[in-house]
Chain length 384, copies 2
């Protein structure tokens, strides 16, 4: 059974209430968000139209009451189907004043001359021309950074959100299980990508926005690549890493395979990242920190001869984006909470130019992690 | 035969040379770009990894010589496969200084204390936290807006780029041609979307990043929607609008169908937008303006009882993004040039809540438009 699509209004009301509690603590008169996941988080507005860079979109969260949409008129019919009542539109594109005045008026309507929040910190950007940000600031004044409010809200998922994650992780687990029946030596990387993408869709994903991978003799060093016309040969390793979606929520995990045979070193590297993940799973619980999770995995990798890696972290949050706050790093120190959805992603560079990356998706429960992805095999699977 | 993947280095050298000619005219010491299409335009770096909001990426274009990549170390192996030689990396995420210092050093290396360009105008955004933009400005000084340089370059496509557009438009035309064999009343919108997406992939698209559509009794008002569980019934109109990709270049056109029967008003509305497109095609040539194209289409729509529409324009540029500069509006006035790739997209609201949108993709040639999409039928197709 697929989880229900969308969310009941109570979910958005609850998100807004939690946000307004934090806003009150900071004495904010309003908060502005303007990127796809934030607008969707507060309104339910869901469209791939965000890929068009032409028009800015805004949601203003008042100190109390429902959020207000300040959007191009092309979005009005879709926004009208959400729980939002107050929808203010302008005909866009209108480069001379693309929503700026309408946004200023709305913010001043709800906040008076009080301070206004805007996410300006790590992992955020303001999705409008910098010239218009300057115009906005000249009329509203300086904004207060509310990255901490937004990240705190979005990092902890509701059970309805977790259900969507669990569903897409199951779909992708099923597709990975089919892979040995779909791939063989002699195929090109491009053919292998196409076969895997179509299998994920066949299994029930809505879309496969993120798919990277690589093949190579006994390994590779580049794990964010698009496919080439390289033919897969005996002894190759293959990695696929996909962020697939159900109802706008992502999975994000990878799997590694060898074709026909694998060196002992490759098998050992696989086992090491699998063991590192086990060590990570051991420490995940409410109250632990992302840095403790990092340290647990890193200890195992070091014991297995890690030469370091270029990824910069060993996993991250997961949600409406393929990566979200927090990051498992040596310095992140975010306290893990119940209902965070996280990836564990230890990476081992076991020889120059040879990386092995492993990834699982979990939700944090009171007593530890619940796996959302089906746990990878402890030994490197060999496609024969 | 599929067009060749990627581009030879000469293409990137030529793009850089044209950019540097404009920079010299403006006496710029360097230019910074930081969004996916711009980074890809100058380097060839191509990955869906941009969906992760965690890390900023920069390319610095000096007054002469090759562009310089200032990027997270996770991207170094991929960037090393491009024509770029100078790749400067840092281990990201590093919230306290996520590339800012490295970027400042690079800009000062190449520009000394000279003025530095950054796109800050319509259809652009700066893809890094606003807090870091402020830090950057406090160390580099104010940037010069170079939206005009970037848009001028990107609006005019090379023949290699046109070949990729033509290919994906052909693929999607083939998929639309198959639609009557794939869809029938009784299917849900969601099933129809899934069938169409998989057909586009089967026909040879790399991906279908943008797919919207709607069904409804005799029409609908919302054309940026995701599918619902609504069942298609006799007398429904259906619109699909897709931006599909080949090698990172988009198609963007729609098609309308009726199921089993259609009202005379719906047929007339379809004919009106088809005729409006004809009128647009008539005026497209180098030297015409986007406003003349708009006016030609708008005249036909008005003669057919248009109630106006919410889209805000009647077509746009097309390229590495599903929409790019320019816009066909009453005030855009961009002069059309040879090798611009454009959409024509007249929309007619023929009754309250009933919109008919039509779209074709073209490349501008010396003597007028070359159609990239296969021209829609002049009468509303009815799926029986």
């Amino acid at each position: 059974m697929n989880p229900e699509r969308g969310f009941p209004s109570i979910e958005f009301a609850e998100r807004t209430r939690r946000c307004q509690t934090e806003m009150a603590r900071r004495q904010l008169g309003a908060m502005v968000v303007c990127t796809e996941p934030e607008v969707r988080y507060f309104t339910g507005f869901h469209t791939p139209f965000w890929q068009s860079p032409t028009r800015p979109w805004f949601v203003v969260i008042p100190a109390d009451g429902k959020p207000i949409a300040v959007i191009p008129s092309i979005g009005a019919p879709s926004m009208a189907t959400t729980w939002i009542d107050d929808i203010r539109t302008w005909s866009s594109p209108q480069p001379d004043d693309d929503g700026v005045s309408l946004l200023v008026d709305c913010v001043r309507d709800v906040a008076g001359s009080g301070p206004v929040g805007l996410p300006m910190g790590p992992e955020t950007h303001v999705r409008m021309p910098l010239r218009d940000i300057d115009r906005l600031r000249s009329r509203v004044g300086q904004f207060v950074d509310v990255t901490d409010i937004i990240s705190k809200l979005r990092m902890v998922k509701s059970e309805r959100e977790v259900d969507k994650h669990r569903h897409i992780c199951g779909v992708v687990s099923d597709a990975f299980q089919e892979l040995p029946n779909l791939l063989n030596t002699g195929m090109t990387e491009r053919q292998a990508f196409a076969a895997f993408r179509s299998e994920i869709l066949r299994q029930g994903a809505d879309d496969v926005p993120y798919l990277v991978g690589a093949t190579g003799p006994d390994g590779f060093d580049d794990i964010i690549r698009q496919p080439s016309d390289r033919e897969i040969v005996d002894g190759d390793l293959l990695i696929f890493d996909t962020g697939s979606t159900f109802d706008g929520y992502f999975s994000d995990f990878d799997r590694n395979f060898a074709f026909t045979k694998a060196s002992q070193k490759a098998k050992d590297a696989y086992r090491a990242v699998w063991e590192a993940t086990e060590a990570g799973l051991e420490v995940v619980r409410p109250g632990a920190t992302t840095t403790e999770i990092f340290a647990a995995m890193n200890t195992v990798l070091k014991a297995n001869g890690s030469l370091g890696n270029d990824v910069g972290r060993m996993g991250h949050g997961l949600g409406m984006q393929v990566t979200e706050w927090p990051s498992h790093t040596a310095s992140d120190h975010t306290v893990v909470q119940e209902n965070m959805v996280l990836t564990l992603e230890p990476g081992l560079v076991w020889a120059p130019g040879k990386a092995m990356i492993h990834e699982e998706n979990i939700v944090v429960r009171g007593d530890g992690p619940e796996l959302l992805s089906r746990r990878a095999a402890p030994e490197l699977p060999i496609i024969t």
